[in-house]
Protein backbone atom coordinates (compact mmCIF):
# COMPACT_ATOMS: atom_id res chain seq x y z
CA UNK A 1 0.00 0.00 0.00
CA UNK A 2 1.28 3.47 -0.80
CA UNK A 3 1.78 5.90 2.06
CA UNK A 4 1.30 9.62 2.15
CA UNK A 5 2.55 11.84 4.96
CA UNK A 6 0.80 14.66 6.79
CA UNK A 7 2.84 17.05 8.91
CA UNK A 8 0.56 19.14 11.11
CA UNK A 9 1.66 22.26 12.97
CA UNK A 10 -0.05 21.11 16.16
CA UNK A 11 -2.62 18.60 17.26
CA UNK A 12 -3.30 20.57 20.44
CA UNK A 13 -5.92 22.55 18.56
CA UNK A 14 -9.26 20.88 17.75
CA UNK A 15 -9.20 22.53 14.34
CA UNK A 16 -6.31 20.36 13.24
CA UNK A 17 -7.66 17.27 14.92
CA UNK A 18 -10.75 17.67 12.75
CA UNK A 19 -8.56 18.27 9.72
CA UNK A 20 -6.64 15.11 10.48
CA UNK A 21 -9.86 13.12 10.90
CA UNK A 22 -11.09 14.32 7.52
CA UNK A 23 -7.81 13.29 5.96
CA UNK A 24 -7.86 9.88 7.65
CA UNK A 25 -11.35 9.11 6.42
CA UNK A 26 -10.41 10.07 2.89
CA UNK A 27 -7.23 7.99 3.06
CA UNK A 28 -9.18 4.92 4.16
CA UNK A 29 -11.52 5.42 1.26
CA UNK A 30 -8.71 5.91 -1.24
CA UNK A 31 -6.85 2.87 0.09
CA UNK A 32 -3.63 4.63 1.08
CA UNK A 33 -1.72 4.74 4.37
CA UNK A 34 -1.64 8.10 6.11
CA UNK A 35 1.33 8.91 8.37
CA UNK A 36 0.47 11.84 10.65
CA UNK A 37 3.23 13.73 12.48
CA UNK A 38 2.64 16.47 15.06
CA UNK A 39 5.17 19.34 15.10
CA UNK A 40 3.80 20.63 18.41
CA UNK A 41 4.04 24.15 16.98
CA UNK A 42 7.82 23.87 16.87
CA UNK A 43 9.34 24.98 13.59
CA UNK A 44 12.44 22.85 14.00
CA UNK A 45 10.46 19.71 14.79
CA UNK A 46 8.36 20.21 11.69
CA UNK A 47 11.48 20.33 9.52
CA UNK A 48 12.76 17.10 11.09
CA UNK A 49 9.35 15.47 10.69
CA UNK A 50 9.22 16.24 6.97
CA UNK A 51 12.78 14.97 6.55
CA UNK A 52 11.72 11.73 8.16
CA UNK A 53 8.71 11.47 5.86
CA UNK A 54 11.01 11.89 2.88
CA UNK A 55 13.28 9.25 4.34
CA UNK A 56 10.37 6.91 4.74
CA UNK A 57 9.67 7.42 1.02
CA UNK A 58 6.05 8.46 1.34
CA UNK A 59 4.55 9.19 -2.06
CA UNK A 60 3.14 12.63 -1.26
CA UNK A 61 3.80 15.05 1.60
CA UNK A 62 0.92 17.11 2.96
CA UNK A 63 2.12 20.05 5.03
CA UNK A 64 0.32 22.37 7.35
CA UNK A 65 3.20 24.80 8.02
CA UNK A 66 3.90 26.19 11.46
CA UNK A 67 5.77 29.03 9.81
CA UNK A 68 5.66 29.99 6.16
CA UNK A 69 9.39 30.64 5.77
CA UNK A 70 10.82 28.03 8.12
CA UNK A 71 9.18 25.16 6.29
CA UNK A 72 10.71 26.04 2.93
CA UNK A 73 14.00 24.10 3.24
CA UNK A 74 12.06 20.99 4.20
CA UNK A 75 9.77 21.37 1.20
CA UNK A 76 12.82 21.80 -0.99
CA UNK A 77 14.19 18.56 0.39
CA UNK A 78 10.98 16.79 -0.65
CA UNK A 79 11.20 18.47 -4.03
CA UNK A 80 14.74 17.16 -4.41
CA UNK A 81 13.50 13.65 -3.65
CA UNK A 82 10.82 14.15 -6.28
CA UNK A 83 8.03 13.84 -3.75
CA UNK A 84 5.13 16.18 -4.51
CA UNK A 85 4.10 18.57 -1.73
CA UNK A 86 0.63 19.88 -0.94
CA UNK A 87 0.16 22.64 1.62
CA UNK A 88 -2.98 22.62 3.71
CA UNK A 89 -4.64 25.52 5.57
CA UNK A 90 -1.46 27.60 5.65
CA UNK A 91 0.87 28.43 2.81
CA UNK A 92 4.62 28.14 2.46
CA UNK A 93 6.60 31.09 1.20
CA UNK A 94 8.77 29.05 -1.17
CA UNK A 95 9.59 25.66 -2.58
CA UNK A 96 7.62 23.82 -5.22
CA UNK A 97 4.07 23.20 -4.03
CA UNK A 98 1.63 21.23 -6.16
CA UNK A 99 -1.53 22.43 -4.50
CA UNK A 100 -2.42 24.83 -1.76
CA UNK A 101 -5.69 23.96 -0.13
CA UNK A 102 -6.98 26.53 2.32
CA UNK A 103 -9.67 28.98 3.16
CA UNK A 104 -9.37 32.35 1.52
CA UNK A 105 -8.18 33.88 4.75
CA UNK A 106 -8.00 37.41 3.36
CA UNK A 107 -11.65 37.13 2.50
CA UNK A 108 -12.35 35.69 5.96
CA UNK A 109 -10.70 38.70 7.58
CA UNK A 110 -12.85 41.00 5.48
CA UNK A 111 -15.96 39.07 6.49
CA UNK A 112 -15.13 39.63 10.14
CA UNK A 113 -14.42 43.32 9.59
CA UNK A 114 -17.71 43.92 7.78
CA UNK A 115 -19.66 42.13 10.48
CA UNK A 116 -18.02 44.03 13.33
CA UNK A 117 -18.42 47.32 11.54
CA UNK A 118 -22.13 46.79 11.25
CA UNK A 119 -22.43 45.51 14.81
CA UNK A 120 -20.70 48.58 16.25
CA UNK A 121 -22.57 50.98 14.04
CA UNK A 122 -19.41 52.07 12.29
CA UNK A 123 -17.71 53.40 15.41
CA UNK A 124 -15.68 51.92 18.23
CA UNK A 125 -12.47 50.41 19.61
CA UNK A 126 -11.35 46.94 18.63
CA UNK A 127 -8.68 44.61 19.94
CA UNK A 128 -7.04 42.19 17.53
CA UNK A 129 -5.65 38.91 18.88
CA UNK A 130 -3.20 37.61 16.33
CA UNK A 131 -2.31 34.04 15.50
CA UNK A 132 1.21 32.68 15.28
CA UNK A 133 3.33 35.41 13.67
CA UNK A 134 4.74 34.12 10.43
CA UNK A 135 1.85 31.76 9.66
CA UNK A 136 -0.02 32.64 6.49
CA UNK A 137 -3.36 32.23 8.26
CA UNK A 138 -2.50 34.97 10.74
CA UNK A 139 -0.96 37.21 8.13
CA UNK A 140 -3.85 36.92 5.70
CA UNK A 141 -6.61 37.29 8.28
CA UNK A 142 -4.91 40.35 9.73
CA UNK A 143 -4.45 41.83 6.29
CA UNK A 144 -8.06 41.23 5.22
CA UNK A 145 -9.42 42.58 8.49
CA UNK A 146 -7.29 45.69 8.71
CA UNK A 147 -7.45 46.61 5.03
CA UNK A 148 -11.20 46.35 5.11
CA UNK A 149 -11.51 48.54 8.20
CA UNK A 150 -9.22 51.16 6.68
CA UNK A 151 -11.07 51.10 3.41
CA UNK A 152 -14.67 50.97 4.49
CA UNK A 153 -14.98 51.52 8.21
CA UNK A 154 -12.81 54.42 9.34
CA UNK A 155 -14.75 54.88 12.58
CA UNK A 156 -13.54 51.61 14.04
CA UNK A 157 -9.97 51.69 15.32
CA UNK A 158 -7.73 48.87 16.43
CA UNK A 159 -6.52 50.02 19.86
CA UNK A 160 -4.43 46.96 20.72
CA UNK A 161 -2.91 44.22 18.63
CA UNK A 162 -1.15 41.34 20.35
CA UNK A 163 -0.32 37.78 19.51
CA UNK A 164 -1.74 34.88 21.49
CA UNK A 165 -0.34 32.22 19.14
CA UNK A 166 -3.69 30.59 18.34
CA UNK A 167 -3.78 29.29 21.95
CA UNK A 168 -6.67 29.49 24.43
CA UNK A 169 -4.57 29.88 27.58
CA UNK A 170 -2.62 32.69 25.97
CA UNK A 171 -5.87 34.22 24.75
CA UNK A 172 -7.00 34.41 28.37
CA UNK A 173 -3.82 35.93 29.78
CA UNK A 174 -3.24 38.35 26.90
CA UNK A 175 -6.83 39.54 27.12
CA UNK A 176 -6.51 39.98 30.88
CA UNK A 177 -3.53 42.21 30.21
CA UNK A 178 -5.31 44.20 27.54
CA UNK A 179 -8.36 44.66 29.77
CA UNK A 180 -6.17 46.12 32.49
CA UNK A 181 -4.48 48.48 30.08
CA UNK A 182 -7.39 49.65 27.91
CA UNK A 183 -10.31 51.52 29.41
CA UNK A 184 -12.53 51.59 26.32
CA UNK A 185 -12.96 48.39 24.32
CA UNK A 186 -16.04 47.53 22.28
CA UNK A 187 -15.04 44.38 20.45
CA UNK A 188 -12.36 41.76 19.91
CA UNK A 189 -11.36 40.06 16.69
CA UNK A 190 -9.38 36.89 17.33
CA UNK A 191 -7.64 35.05 14.51
CA UNK A 192 -9.11 31.80 15.78
CA UNK A 193 -11.74 30.49 18.15
CA UNK A 194 -9.34 29.12 20.75
CA UNK A 195 -8.03 32.61 21.42
CA UNK A 196 -11.54 34.03 21.18
CA UNK A 197 -12.79 31.64 23.85
CA UNK A 198 -9.88 32.51 26.12
CA UNK A 199 -10.72 36.19 25.63
CA UNK A 200 -14.38 35.51 26.43
CA UNK A 201 -13.28 33.98 29.73
CA UNK A 202 -11.29 37.08 30.63
CA UNK A 203 -14.05 39.42 29.54
CA UNK A 204 -16.66 37.58 31.60
CA UNK A 205 -14.47 37.82 34.69
CA UNK A 206 -14.12 41.58 34.13
CA UNK A 207 -17.86 42.00 33.65
CA UNK A 208 -17.39 44.45 30.76
CA UNK A 209 -19.71 44.35 27.71
CA UNK A 210 -17.39 43.44 24.83
CA UNK A 211 -18.27 41.61 21.59
CA UNK A 212 -16.03 38.83 20.41
CA UNK A 213 -15.59 37.50 16.89
CA UNK A 214 -13.56 34.39 16.25
CA UNK A 215 -12.51 32.20 13.35
CA UNK A 216 -12.97 28.46 12.65
CA UNK A 217 -16.45 27.70 14.01
CA UNK A 218 -15.27 24.95 16.28
CA UNK A 219 -18.00 23.16 18.24
CA UNK A 220 -17.19 25.18 21.34
CA UNK A 221 -17.35 28.45 19.48
CA UNK A 222 -20.65 27.65 17.83
CA UNK A 223 -22.04 26.80 21.25
CA UNK A 224 -20.74 30.11 22.55
CA UNK A 225 -22.36 31.96 19.67
CA UNK A 226 -25.65 30.20 20.35
CA UNK A 227 -25.37 31.19 24.01
CA UNK A 228 -24.59 34.80 22.98
CA UNK A 229 -21.17 34.64 24.62
CA UNK A 230 -19.56 35.25 21.25
CA UNK A 231 -20.94 37.49 18.56
CA UNK A 232 -19.80 35.45 15.59
CA UNK A 233 -17.21 33.13 14.13
CA UNK A 234 -16.01 32.73 10.58
CA UNK A 235 -16.64 29.10 9.68
CA UNK A 236 -13.84 27.15 8.09
CA UNK A 237 -14.16 23.56 6.94
CA UNK A 238 -11.14 21.75 8.28
CA UNK A 239 -12.51 18.26 7.60
CA UNK A 240 -13.10 19.34 4.04
CA UNK A 241 -9.51 20.60 3.76
CA UNK A 242 -8.19 17.29 4.99
CA UNK A 243 -10.40 15.36 2.63
CA UNK A 244 -9.51 17.48 -0.39
CA UNK A 245 -5.80 17.26 0.37
CA UNK A 246 -5.81 13.47 0.51
CA UNK A 247 -7.96 13.19 -2.60
CA UNK A 248 -5.60 15.44 -4.51
CA UNK A 249 -2.69 13.38 -3.27
CA UNK A 250 -4.33 10.18 -4.40
CA UNK A 251 -4.99 11.71 -7.80
CA UNK A 252 -1.33 12.71 -8.07
CA UNK A 253 -0.38 9.14 -7.23
CA UNK A 254 -2.56 7.72 -9.95
CA UNK A 255 -1.31 10.35 -12.30
CA UNK A 256 -4.85 11.56 -12.91
CA UNK A 257 -4.07 15.10 -11.78
CA UNK A 258 -1.36 17.41 -13.04
CA UNK A 259 1.22 18.65 -10.50
CA UNK A 260 0.96 22.36 -11.01
CA UNK A 261 0.79 25.12 -8.46
CA UNK A 262 -2.84 25.76 -7.79
CA UNK A 263 -4.79 27.38 -4.95
CA UNK A 264 -7.94 25.53 -4.09
CA UNK A 265 -10.08 27.74 -1.85
CA UNK A 266 -12.39 26.15 0.68
CA UNK A 267 -15.65 27.93 1.33
CA UNK A 268 -16.11 30.24 4.32
CA UNK A 269 -19.24 31.51 5.98
CA UNK A 270 -20.11 33.63 8.97
CA UNK A 271 -21.86 32.01 11.93
CA UNK A 272 -23.72 34.52 14.08
CA UNK A 273 -26.84 34.67 16.19
CA UNK A 274 -29.42 37.29 15.37
CA UNK A 275 -31.34 36.75 18.61
CA UNK A 276 -28.53 38.20 20.75
CA UNK A 277 -28.47 41.86 21.56
Amino acid sequence: KDAIGLSVSTLNNPFFVTLRDGAKAAAAKAGVDLVVLDAQDKVDKQVADIEDLVQRKVKVVLVNPTDAAAVVPAIERANAAKIPVITVDRAASGGKVAYHIASDNVAGGKLAADFLCKLLGGKGNVVELEGIPGSSAARDRGKGFNDELKARCKGVTVVARQTANFDRGQGLSVMENVLQAQRAIDAVFAHNDEMALGAVQAIQASGRPIKVVGFDATDDAVKAVNACKMAATVAQQPAEMGRLAVEKAAALLKGTAPAKTEFIPVALKLVSNASCK
Binding site: N12, Q162, V174, A181, Q204
Partner: protein, 314 residues
Protein backbone atom coordinates in the same frame (compact mmCIF):
# COMPACT_ATOMS: atom_id res chain seq x y z
CA UNK B 1 17.64 35.98 69.37
CA UNK B 2 20.92 34.36 68.45
CA UNK B 3 22.90 36.02 65.64
CA UNK B 4 22.17 33.12 63.31
CA UNK B 5 18.44 33.39 63.91
CA UNK B 6 18.57 37.13 63.48
CA UNK B 7 20.33 36.71 60.16
CA UNK B 8 17.80 34.18 59.04
CA UNK B 9 14.95 36.43 60.01
CA UNK B 10 16.53 39.37 58.23
CA UNK B 11 17.14 37.40 55.09
CA UNK B 12 13.50 36.38 54.99
CA UNK B 13 12.53 39.93 55.80
CA UNK B 14 14.68 41.00 52.83
CA UNK B 15 12.25 39.50 50.37
CA UNK B 16 9.24 40.80 52.24
CA UNK B 17 10.89 44.19 52.09
CA UNK B 18 11.39 43.86 48.34
CA UNK B 19 7.71 43.01 48.11
CA UNK B 20 6.66 46.04 50.12
CA UNK B 21 8.89 48.37 48.09
CA UNK B 22 7.51 46.97 44.86
CA UNK B 23 3.92 47.31 46.03
CA UNK B 24 4.53 50.85 47.26
CA UNK B 25 6.11 51.87 43.97
CA UNK B 26 3.20 50.43 42.04
CA UNK B 27 0.58 52.10 44.19
CA UNK B 28 2.24 55.45 43.53
CA UNK B 29 2.58 54.83 39.80
CA UNK B 30 -0.90 53.46 39.33
CA UNK B 31 -3.79 54.62 41.48
CA UNK B 32 -5.88 51.55 40.69
CA UNK B 33 -3.27 49.17 42.07
CA UNK B 34 -4.36 49.41 45.69
CA UNK B 35 -8.09 49.11 45.00
CA UNK B 36 -9.41 46.07 46.88
CA UNK B 37 -10.87 44.70 43.68
CA UNK B 38 -7.43 44.76 42.07
CA UNK B 39 -5.78 43.11 45.05
CA UNK B 40 -8.32 40.30 44.91
CA UNK B 41 -7.68 40.16 41.19
CA UNK B 42 -3.96 39.64 41.79
CA UNK B 43 -4.65 36.95 44.37
CA UNK B 44 -6.91 35.13 41.96
CA UNK B 45 -4.33 35.37 39.22
CA UNK B 46 -1.57 33.88 41.34
CA UNK B 47 -3.71 31.11 42.79
CA UNK B 48 -2.77 28.35 40.33
CA UNK B 49 0.94 29.15 40.35
CA UNK B 50 0.90 29.43 44.14
CA UNK B 51 -0.77 26.03 44.52
CA UNK B 52 1.86 24.38 42.33
CA UNK B 53 4.59 26.29 44.13
CA UNK B 54 3.41 25.05 47.54
CA UNK B 55 3.74 21.49 46.33
CA UNK B 56 7.08 22.34 44.72
CA UNK B 57 8.32 23.81 48.01
CA UNK B 58 7.67 20.51 49.73
CA UNK B 59 9.63 18.61 47.09
CA UNK B 60 12.51 21.09 47.06
CA UNK B 61 12.80 21.24 50.85
CA UNK B 62 12.99 17.44 50.71
CA UNK B 63 16.00 17.71 48.43
CA UNK B 64 14.29 17.11 45.09
CA UNK B 65 12.70 19.01 42.25
CA UNK B 66 9.59 18.33 40.17
CA UNK B 67 9.49 19.42 36.55
CA UNK B 68 6.33 17.47 35.81
CA UNK B 69 3.85 19.66 37.69
CA UNK B 70 2.46 21.30 34.56
CA UNK B 71 1.84 17.97 32.85
CA UNK B 72 0.32 16.45 35.97
CA UNK B 73 -1.95 19.47 36.09
CA UNK B 74 -3.04 18.95 32.50
CA UNK B 75 -3.62 15.22 32.93
CA UNK B 76 -5.54 15.42 36.17
CA UNK B 77 -7.61 18.32 34.85
CA UNK B 78 -8.50 16.28 31.77
CA UNK B 79 -9.34 13.26 33.90
CA UNK B 80 -11.62 15.31 36.16
CA UNK B 81 -13.37 16.84 33.16
CA UNK B 82 -13.60 13.49 31.41
CA UNK B 83 -15.14 11.84 34.46
CA UNK B 84 -17.64 14.65 34.86
CA UNK B 85 -18.62 14.39 31.19
CA UNK B 86 -19.02 10.66 31.65
CA UNK B 87 -21.68 11.40 34.19
CA UNK B 88 -19.82 11.26 37.50
CA UNK B 89 -20.98 13.66 40.15
CA UNK B 90 -18.71 16.70 39.91
CA UNK B 91 -17.48 16.35 43.49
CA UNK B 92 -16.60 12.73 42.88
CA UNK B 93 -14.81 13.56 39.63
CA UNK B 94 -12.80 16.20 41.47
CA UNK B 95 -11.83 13.91 44.30
CA UNK B 96 -10.84 11.25 41.80
CA UNK B 97 -8.63 13.79 40.04
CA UNK B 98 -6.94 14.73 43.31
CA UNK B 99 -6.25 11.08 44.07
CA UNK B 100 -4.94 10.46 40.56
CA UNK B 101 -2.77 13.57 40.72
CA UNK B 102 -1.22 12.29 43.91
CA UNK B 103 -0.79 8.94 42.19
CA UNK B 104 1.11 10.55 39.31
CA UNK B 105 3.31 12.21 41.90
CA UNK B 106 3.94 8.78 43.39
CA UNK B 107 5.14 7.55 40.01
CA UNK B 108 7.68 10.39 39.94
CA UNK B 109 8.59 9.56 43.48
CA UNK B 110 9.16 5.94 42.57
CA UNK B 111 11.70 6.87 39.92
CA UNK B 112 13.48 9.28 42.26
CA UNK B 113 13.38 7.45 45.57
CA UNK B 114 13.00 3.86 44.46
CA UNK B 115 15.08 3.80 41.30
CA UNK B 116 17.35 6.65 42.45
CA UNK B 117 17.30 8.52 39.16
CA UNK B 118 18.26 12.19 39.54
CA UNK B 119 15.03 14.11 40.30
CA UNK B 120 15.62 16.59 37.51
CA UNK B 121 15.70 13.94 34.84
CA UNK B 122 13.16 11.59 36.41
CA UNK B 123 10.53 14.30 36.54
CA UNK B 124 11.55 15.51 33.09
CA UNK B 125 10.48 12.04 31.99
CA UNK B 126 7.25 12.56 33.91
CA UNK B 127 6.76 15.89 32.14
CA UNK B 128 6.91 14.18 28.74
CA UNK B 129 4.92 11.09 29.66
CA UNK B 130 2.02 12.80 31.41
CA UNK B 131 1.75 15.36 28.62
CA UNK B 132 1.57 12.56 26.10
CA UNK B 133 -1.00 10.76 28.21
CA UNK B 134 -3.11 13.92 28.29
CA UNK B 135 -3.00 14.22 24.51
CA UNK B 136 -3.95 10.58 24.08
CA UNK B 137 -6.77 10.87 26.59
CA UNK B 138 -8.23 14.09 25.16
CA UNK B 139 -7.31 13.32 21.56
CA UNK B 140 -5.85 16.84 21.54
CA UNK B 141 -9.21 18.49 22.02
CA UNK B 142 -10.27 20.58 24.98
CA UNK B 143 -13.01 19.04 27.10
CA UNK B 144 -15.81 21.55 27.39
CA UNK B 145 -19.37 21.83 28.54
CA UNK B 146 -18.48 21.05 32.14
CA UNK B 147 -21.04 21.16 34.96
CA UNK B 148 -21.32 24.45 36.82
CA UNK B 149 -19.53 23.11 39.87
CA UNK B 150 -16.23 23.50 38.01
CA UNK B 151 -16.98 27.11 37.18
CA UNK B 152 -17.62 27.84 40.85
CA UNK B 153 -14.16 26.56 41.77
CA UNK B 154 -12.57 28.79 39.16
CA UNK B 155 -14.68 31.89 39.10
CA UNK B 156 -17.01 31.81 42.09
CA UNK B 157 -16.70 33.94 45.21
CA UNK B 158 -17.46 33.41 48.86
CA UNK B 159 -17.83 36.29 51.29
CA UNK B 160 -16.56 38.63 48.60
CA UNK B 161 -13.36 36.67 48.12
CA UNK B 162 -12.86 34.53 44.99
CA UNK B 163 -13.05 30.79 45.56
CA UNK B 164 -9.56 30.17 44.05
CA UNK B 165 -8.16 32.51 46.70
CA UNK B 166 -9.86 30.51 49.45
CA UNK B 167 -8.47 27.31 47.99
CA UNK B 168 -5.00 28.79 47.82
CA UNK B 169 -5.07 30.12 51.38
CA UNK B 170 -6.46 26.85 52.70
CA UNK B 171 -3.75 24.84 51.00
CA UNK B 172 -1.15 27.32 52.22
CA UNK B 173 -2.30 26.77 55.80
CA UNK B 174 -2.36 23.01 55.35
CA UNK B 175 1.11 22.88 53.84
CA UNK B 176 2.56 25.21 56.44
CA UNK B 177 1.11 23.12 59.24
CA UNK B 178 2.36 19.94 57.63
CA UNK B 179 5.91 21.12 57.11
CA UNK B 180 6.26 22.98 60.37
CA UNK B 181 4.23 21.08 62.93
CA UNK B 182 4.19 17.44 62.00
CA UNK B 183 6.84 14.78 62.40
CA UNK B 184 6.49 13.99 58.73
CA UNK B 185 7.19 17.60 57.83
CA UNK B 186 10.29 17.75 59.98
CA UNK B 187 11.45 14.54 58.36
CA UNK B 188 11.15 16.27 54.99
CA UNK B 189 13.59 18.92 56.23
CA UNK B 190 15.90 16.26 57.63
CA UNK B 191 15.98 14.22 54.43
CA UNK B 192 16.55 17.33 52.32
CA UNK B 193 19.12 18.77 54.70
CA UNK B 194 21.32 15.73 55.24
CA UNK B 195 20.12 12.51 53.72
CA UNK B 196 22.90 10.41 55.20
CA UNK B 197 22.16 11.70 58.69
CA UNK B 198 18.49 11.03 58.13
CA UNK B 199 19.25 7.47 57.09
CA UNK B 200 21.48 6.87 60.11
CA UNK B 201 18.75 8.31 62.32
CA UNK B 202 16.47 5.59 61.07
CA UNK B 203 14.15 7.82 59.04
CA UNK B 204 12.20 6.15 56.25
CA UNK B 205 13.90 8.10 53.44
CA UNK B 206 12.02 6.46 50.61
CA UNK B 207 8.64 7.04 52.21
CA UNK B 208 9.44 10.67 52.98
CA UNK B 209 10.47 11.31 49.38
CA UNK B 210 7.46 9.48 48.00
CA UNK B 211 5.33 11.68 50.18
CA UNK B 212 6.84 14.92 48.85
CA UNK B 213 6.25 13.94 45.23
CA UNK B 214 2.75 12.68 45.95
CA UNK B 215 2.02 15.95 47.70
CA UNK B 216 3.27 17.92 44.71
CA UNK B 217 1.00 15.78 42.53
CA UNK B 218 -1.91 16.58 44.79
CA UNK B 219 -1.09 20.29 44.59
CA UNK B 220 -0.97 20.07 40.79
CA UNK B 221 -4.35 18.37 40.71
CA UNK B 222 -5.78 21.07 42.94
CA UNK B 223 -4.30 23.66 40.58
CA UNK B 224 -5.90 21.73 37.72
CA UNK B 225 -9.33 22.01 39.26
CA UNK B 226 -8.96 25.76 39.74
CA UNK B 227 -7.56 26.27 36.23
CA UNK B 228 -10.20 24.05 34.63
CA UNK B 229 -12.77 26.21 36.33
CA UNK B 230 -11.10 29.42 35.25
CA UNK B 231 -10.90 28.28 31.61
CA UNK B 232 -14.28 26.60 31.84
CA UNK B 233 -12.69 23.64 30.06
CA UNK B 234 -9.84 21.17 30.37
CA UNK B 235 -7.13 22.11 27.88
CA UNK B 236 -4.60 19.54 26.66
CA UNK B 237 -1.88 22.21 26.67
CA UNK B 238 -2.78 23.57 30.10
CA UNK B 239 0.13 24.07 32.43
CA UNK B 240 2.96 23.82 29.95
CA UNK B 241 5.91 25.81 31.29
CA UNK B 242 4.30 26.17 34.73
CA UNK B 243 7.15 24.26 36.37
CA UNK B 244 9.56 27.13 35.85
CA UNK B 245 7.12 29.70 37.24
CA UNK B 246 6.54 27.55 40.30
CA UNK B 247 10.26 27.10 40.89
CA UNK B 248 10.79 30.83 40.49
CA UNK B 249 8.20 31.52 43.19
CA UNK B 250 9.87 29.02 45.50
CA UNK B 251 13.35 30.41 45.05
CA UNK B 252 12.34 34.07 45.20
CA UNK B 253 10.57 33.09 48.42
CA UNK B 254 13.89 32.12 49.95
CA UNK B 255 13.83 28.33 49.75
CA UNK B 256 17.21 26.86 48.89
CA UNK B 257 17.37 24.63 45.83
CA UNK B 258 19.82 22.40 47.62
CA UNK B 259 17.16 21.27 50.04
CA UNK B 260 16.55 21.27 53.77
CA UNK B 261 15.72 24.96 54.05
CA UNK B 262 12.77 27.11 53.25
CA UNK B 263 9.17 27.80 54.05
CA UNK B 264 5.91 27.82 52.24
CA UNK B 265 5.11 31.28 53.60
CA UNK B 266 8.15 32.55 51.75
CA UNK B 267 6.89 30.84 48.64
CA UNK B 268 3.61 32.67 49.02
CA UNK B 269 5.49 35.98 49.12
CA UNK B 270 7.50 34.84 46.10
CA UNK B 271 4.37 34.04 44.13
CA UNK B 272 2.86 37.35 45.20
CA UNK B 273 5.92 39.30 44.01
CA UNK B 274 5.69 37.69 40.60
CA UNK B 275 1.93 38.22 40.47
CA UNK B 276 2.13 41.85 41.56
CA UNK B 277 4.83 42.42 38.98
CA UNK B 278 2.70 40.98 36.18
CA UNK B 279 -0.35 42.89 37.29
CA UNK B 280 1.55 46.13 37.82
CA UNK B 281 3.12 46.01 34.39
CA UNK B 282 -0.30 45.49 32.87
CA UNK B 283 -1.71 48.42 34.81
CA UNK B 284 1.21 50.55 33.71
CA UNK B 285 0.70 49.40 30.15
CA UNK B 286 4.20 48.00 29.74
CA UNK B 287 4.30 46.34 26.34
CA UNK B 288 4.02 42.56 26.49
CA UNK B 289 7.48 41.94 25.04
CA UNK B 290 9.16 44.27 27.50
CA UNK B 291 7.28 42.66 30.36
CA UNK B 292 9.46 39.56 30.13
CA UNK B 293 12.61 41.63 30.27
CA UNK B 294 11.38 43.66 33.22
CA UNK B 295 10.17 40.55 35.04
CA UNK B 296 13.46 38.72 34.66
CA UNK B 297 15.34 41.86 35.61
CA UNK B 298 13.30 42.59 38.73
CA UNK B 299 13.58 39.00 39.97
CA UNK B 300 17.32 38.91 39.44
CA UNK B 301 17.60 42.35 40.99
CA UNK B 302 15.66 41.26 44.07
CA UNK B 303 17.88 38.21 44.49
CA UNK B 304 20.95 40.35 43.97
CA UNK B 305 19.93 42.74 46.72
CA UNK B 306 19.01 39.82 48.95
CA UNK B 307 22.47 38.38 48.31
CA UNK B 308 24.19 41.68 49.09
CA UNK B 309 22.25 42.05 52.33
CA UNK B 310 23.02 38.47 53.30
CA UNK B 311 26.73 38.80 52.48
CA UNK B 312 27.12 42.04 54.41
CA UNK B 313 25.64 40.33 57.41
CA UNK B 314 27.92 37.30 57.27
Amino acid sequence: MSPARLREWLSRYGILLAFVVLAAALSILSPSFLEPSNLLNVLRQISVNALLAFGMTTVIVGGGIDLSVGSVLAFSGALAAGAAMAGWAPALAMIAALVLGAGMGLVNGFFVAGARIAPFIATLGGLTIFRGATLVYTDGRPITGLPDAFGVLGNGAFGGVPVPVWVMLGFLALTHFLLRYTGLGRNVYAVGGNEEAARLSGLPIVKVKLFTYAYAGLASALGALVLTGRLNSAQPTAGSGFELDAIAAVVVGGTSLSGGRGSVLGTFVGAAIIGVLNNGMNLLNVSAFYQQIVKGGVILGALLIDRLVATRKE
